[in-house]
């Protein structure tokens, strides 16, 4: 397969074409707003293409470690059962497999935080919240800000 330009570079080049070649030729205001939205979506996709598999794998590992600590500290049976269930991530780096594992880890993080809150374990709540912030830091790197195009 062709490795370069990367997917990120291809998408960013599409953004350039939209901004430099297409947008100036469009007079309809609604279509211009849609193009602005499309530009943003493509830029989001470029960042995701460049990093999302690595970021999700890193987060999954950190979440499983946290969930094990939460299960041990709280004795929460549901959490223990969720941890004992086959994770199923495997070694596949195909995006759909990585996303499946990431979603399961997200549910595990939710259950761990709820167990920590039920057990009134401020230390575990703080650790879980830091994982949420790490997740959001990645999301923020993807979106780069929110400004309501066209408004």
């Amino acid at each position: 397969m062709i490795g370069r330009p990367t997917t990120e570079q291809v998408l960013l080049d599409c953004c350039r074409v939209l901004a430099d070649d297409v947008l100036p030729a469009v007079a309809d205001e609604t279509t211009r707003v849609r193009l602005a939205m499309l530009d943003k979506v493509l830029r989001n996709a470029a960042v995701r293409a460049a990093h999302e598999i690595a970021w999700m794998r890193e987060e999954v590992a950190a979440i499983r470690s946290y969930a094990q600590a939460a299960a041990a500290a709280t004795g929460d049976d549901d959490l223990r059962a969720a941890l004992d269930a086959p994770a199923g991530e495997g070694e596949s780096l195909h995006l759909s497999d990585v996303v499946d594992g990431y979603c399961r880890a997200g549910d595990l993080l939710s259950a761990s935080l709820e167990a920590a809150l039920d057990a009134d374990r401020a230390d575990l709540v703080a650790r879980g919240e830091s994982l949420l912030r790490e997740r959001l830091a990645h999301e923020s790197a993807v979106v780069g800000g929110w400004n309501s195009a066209g408004r």
Binding site: D28, T30, E129, L132, R135, L136, E139, V143, S148, R151
Partner: protein
């Protein structure tokens, strides 16, 4: 939230359709639609401005507001309910609204249910704020309008608008909607599960239910040349906690945001106008109700994204609004971080 739909505002919002509709609505007056153009800038409904000339020489300008085609768009709301509410508000002497004129309740004429109201000549309050030399004065006028919405007598509202059984039921119901959407969609939303858990444990003091606008922002307030404020876009209105509108406004990203500019002045004015106490209305309670007030729209965005993940298309708006979701999640986590100090565990 209005969503301009393209060079034509929507498949059915055309000059011809409006002319046929008005002919049926006003037999014998022979309307001629001399212009019709879409309104851009909103994210939900299709809307357009139309100029009409009647055969007696009278002219008028109207605003049309319809639904996107089924399966398109992101936000869902009920035109019947909006029409009934706008009519009730126009009768009530409460917040000024555009005069409701006609309603295509079946979509027979426009291919979509379509509300027709008088056009209001003026600028949006957001435009006024942007260019105001005395921003605090304009900000106070916005607060007064919001307080006016919340002062609307509930007994004059449509019978279908009923208050929740209790304040706790209301908050629990909203928090459950976050847990439910996390279960229903293919993606995982740990921020929502966490926020629901935290807010369920830390409740601010209740206040009486009021009419809630649901999309409370200066862009939805038109300022006539006389200075009168006219409130538009009632599609997400409901009866709820008035602080939902305050919280909702805090997340509006367009500058200036007159709450963010001076929260204490904003809230002092609001308390003065409503008689609510500082314990009830303060930055912490407003932050709490950002999460409550955004629930309905955030859930709809997540449902649209889930539809995209199943291979359906909801237009570029759906994928674009991923950006808004991240923005909300960040604000929600910030709200959680400050909750512990604001509401000790177990407080009412």
């Amino acid at each position: 939230m209005d969503l301009g739909g393209g060079a034509e505002p929507g498949p059915g919002l055309t000059r011809e359709a409006l002319e046929r509709f008005l002919t049926a609505a006003e037999p014998g007056r022979h309307p001629s639609v001399t212009a019709l153009r879409p309104i851009t800038g909103g994210y939900s409904r299709l809307s357009a401005i139309a100029d009409v000339r009647w055969d007696d020489g009278a002219t008028e300008r109207l605003v049309l507001r319809g639904d996107p085609a089924p399966g398109e768009g992101v936000f869902v709301s009920d035109r019947d309910a909006e029409w009934e509410l706008v009519r009730a508000l126009a009768r009530s002497g409460g917040p000024a609204v555009p005069t409701p004129r006609w309603y295509d309740a079946t979509g027979e004429h426009f291919g979509t249910k379509c509300i027709v109201v008088d056009h209001v000549a003026g600028r949006t309050l957001q435009d006024v704020l942007r260019s105001a030399e005395d921003t605090p004065a304009a900000a106070r006028s916005f607060v007064d309008t919001v307080a006016g919405i919340h002062a609307t007598p509930l007994d004059g509202l449509p019978a279908a608008m009923r208050p929740p059984p209790s304040w706790d039921d209301h908050v629990d119901g909203v928090l459950d909607s976050y847990r439910r959407i996390d279960r229903e969609i293919a993606d995982s939303s740990p921020v929502l599960r966490y926020v629901a858990a935290r807010l369920g444990r830390h409740r601010p003091p209740p206040v009486p239910f009021t009419l809630v606008h649901g999309d409370c922002q200066p862009s939805n307030v038109l300022v006539r040349e006389t200075g009168e404020h006219v409130v538009i876009d009632w599609e997400f209105a409901r009866i709820g906690d008035p602080r939902e509108d305050l919280g909702y406004y805090t997340q509006i990203p367009m500058p200036p945001n007159v709450y963010s500019d001076d929260p204490q002045a904003f809230l002092a004015r609001y308390r003065e106008r409503t008689g609510l106490t500082e314990e009830q209305v303060n930055p912490a309670t407003v932050e709490y109700f950002l999460v409550i007030g955004m629930a309905r729209l955030l859930v709809q965005i997540l449902q649209a994204l889930d539809a995209v993940s199943r291979g359906e298309s909801r237009g570029v708006l759906a994928t674009y609004l991923v950006n808004a979701v991240t923005h909300q999640y960040r604000l929600y986590l910030d709200a959680c971080r400050r909750l512990g100090g604001a509401y000790p565990e177990g407080a009412p």
